[in-house]
Amino acid sequence: MTTSIDTAPGGARTARTGTARRVFSLICALALLVLAVLASVMFGSKPTPFGDVWDVLRGDADTYVTTVVESRYPRTALGVLAGVTLAVAGTLMQGMTRNPLADPGLLGINAGASAGVVTATAYLGVSGQAATVWWALPGALLAGLVLHAVGSAGGGGSVVRLVLAGAVVSAVLAAYIQAVTLSKPRVFDSYRYWVVGALGGRDWDVLWSVLPFAAVGFVLALLLAPALNALALGDESASSLGANPALVRTAGLVSATLLCAAATAAVGPIAFVGLAVPHVARTLAGVDFRAQVVFSAVLGPSLLLLADVVGRVLLRPQELMVGVVTAFVGAPALLYAVRRMRGAA
């Protein structure tokens, strides 16, 4: 095989044991997700034992406990949504660019989306969380296009080139975002945590406003998965297999933009979920992108929710933004990927 994607360990197994292994892995991943959701509902500034949560779910807990537990529902739901979108966007981008280091946060797409939101809030008087996703979209798209322009200057993008271009885009946008938020502190009072990436302090409206965008992006990613399999063999082989690389990349850009804009509008720019999760998904699911997308969609929210729980427990009664936790636990995934990079790259 001449794919640039890591094959699953012990690739020479029969299809049947491979499938069995994958199903087993998927069941384990789903169990992890259930645990992560439970942990997200149980932990906080006031930890709630599992028994109390169970009572709330059955509807016979006292009002106080019910309020505490139910206040954690929206953030848990947002964590699931953001985890799915970021991880799937990462898988998609890694497949499209054939670059194992592609990540919506690292490449500056999330920074573009948040720059769009910040601009609209500061200068266009857009208020209300529901409208912001419309501004995140052009921001993410623009960042993606700039990234493409810088990263492909002089033809042929290498693995490192794209990451560097992303670092440049992120740095400039981060400076812009900080300048705007710092010079208009009143406007951004409620955005303080969002700027770093946080699940807390948002309500169901946010979820409903971004859900359609996330859903369309996710379906598009699923539809693109077979074409990504062809693309992994190289552009020429993909063409001869009937996939149109340019079309796949354009559709992929649209899908990634939708996913990243939805995630960023909902919870802020969060990096490294889209980098780390696809690597784990690839190890478990093998080279098939259809399976990778499914695994990413299950593992992404688990990672994000567990990171959020850590952030809630670490500084109790204060909270540490989930974006800080994911950067700290996700960056080692980048270091690990660097060690595995072959050649000069």
């Binding site: 280091l101 440049v168 900080q178 490294f272 933004m321 660097v338 790259a345």
Partner: protein, 353 residues
């Protein structure tokens, strides 16, 4: 001194000799560029002291600087802008020299302390010491420990040391992300919701610097700059490649280690007083190199250019019409980021990176 005449009389072209022991190579263009950079720095410094509401009138400036001021002017010179200006000069110089050393060792413009996570690591170390154990340990020591830890982490995770530029840069981005997250954690844990405190620790700021800070960076420069200048010749020879450098007696391995150590100390000192200000150590050596149109590390010129860049950036930060409270690190990140993008696109078009 009339170096040119003496050169013509007593030695080969382009060399100034002092007695029979010392011979310093001098290039006309480098001297000229150096003089222009110093002049521009002086102009920017004067502007820093005299512009704006609290500025000192140009006519009063000479006496104010020499200690003859009273009232408001004295306050501005001795407390507000004087120390800030001196810290900007010193920090900029340290960052410029640090970048020149590291870029020369890695033979790569991107192998610069602010790109490969050194500055962020130092920033995290400084934040831990300054916020969690204030007064117990000097901040500069924390910055040094953080910088060394970041470099060890980068060195180990590339799997090939500092040799492979691609891996170096990506590992640096990862380590920088971790260090920044750690800094955020420390600031949130101690300072809670103070957005200005956070941005100063993450981006670097020159607001409210004292003479103590100026003394810190001054001591660092006093110790490191002579050593760096002694090493300069070897560093430049090292750029010819290890084999040739070895034949010429430049001991490439030892030179590299010394240069990295000096660079780390300089960056840590700069970060200890001003925070991880982005992209000065990346851009100063590059600008110096382009101004002289030469090859080589241009350590002295990179040092001067670094000082000029940071004083200019801080002048913009202080007099900005948008918001005069923004930390200087935000300006350097925006401008330096655009410059880096331009640099990368150009080098990639040429296929030289």
């Amino acid at each position: 001194m009339t170096p040119l005449e003496r050169t013509a009389a007593s030695g080969p072209r382009g060399v100034v000799t002092l007695g029979s022991r010392v011979a310093l190579p001098v290039h006309g263009r480098q001297l000229l560029v150096g003089a222009v950079v110093v002049l521009l720095t002086a102009v920017a410094s004067v502007a820093t002291l005299s512009l704006g509401e609290l500025g000192i009138a140009l006519a009063d400036l000479p006496s104010a600087v020499t200690g003859g001021a009273d009232g408001a002017d004295a306050f501005v010179v001795e407390r507000l802008r004087g120390p800030r200006l001196v810290v900007a000069l010193g920090t900029g110089a340290a960052l410029g020299l640090s970048g020149a050393l590291f870029q020369s060792v890695t033979r790569n413009p991107l192998g610069s302390p602010d790109v490969i996570g050194l500055a962020s690591g130092a920033g995290a170390g400084a934040a831990v010491v300054a916020l969690m154990m204030p007064g117990e340990v000097p901040v500069s020591l924390g910055a040094l420990v953080g910088a060394v830890a970041a470099m060890v982490l980068v060195y180990v995770s590339t799997g090939s040391g500092f040799r492979n530029p691609g891996r170096l840069v990506v590992a640096g981005i990862g380590v920088a992300a971790m260090a920044t997250a750690f800094t955020q954690y420390v600031v949130y844990a101690v300072e809670r919701d103070k957005a200005t405190a956070l941005t100063a620790y993450v981006n670097g700021s020159l607001a409210a610097r004292s003479w103590d800070d100026a003394a810190t960076i001054g001591v660092v420069l006093l110790v490191v700059v002579p050593l760096a200048l002694l090493l300069g010749r070897r560093v430049e020879i090292g750029e010819m490649g290890d084999e040739l450098a070895g034949v010429l007696g430049a001991e490439p391995q030892r030179t590299r280690v010394s240069a990295v150590v000096l660079s780390i100390v300089l960056s840590a000192g700069a970060v200890a007083v001003a925070g991880p200000i982005a992209f000065i150590s990346l851009t100063a050596p590059q600008i110096a190199r382009r101004l002289t149109r030469g090859t080589g590390a241009h350590l002295a010129l990179a040092t001067l250019t670094g000082a000029l860049l940071l004083v200019l950036a801080d002048l913009v930060a202080q007099q900005s019409p948008i918001d005069d409270g923004l930390p200087v690190g935000i300006y350097t990140m925006a401008i330096g980021g655009v410059y880096l993008g331009w640099l990368l696109t150009r080098e990639w078009r040429r296929g030289s990176l």
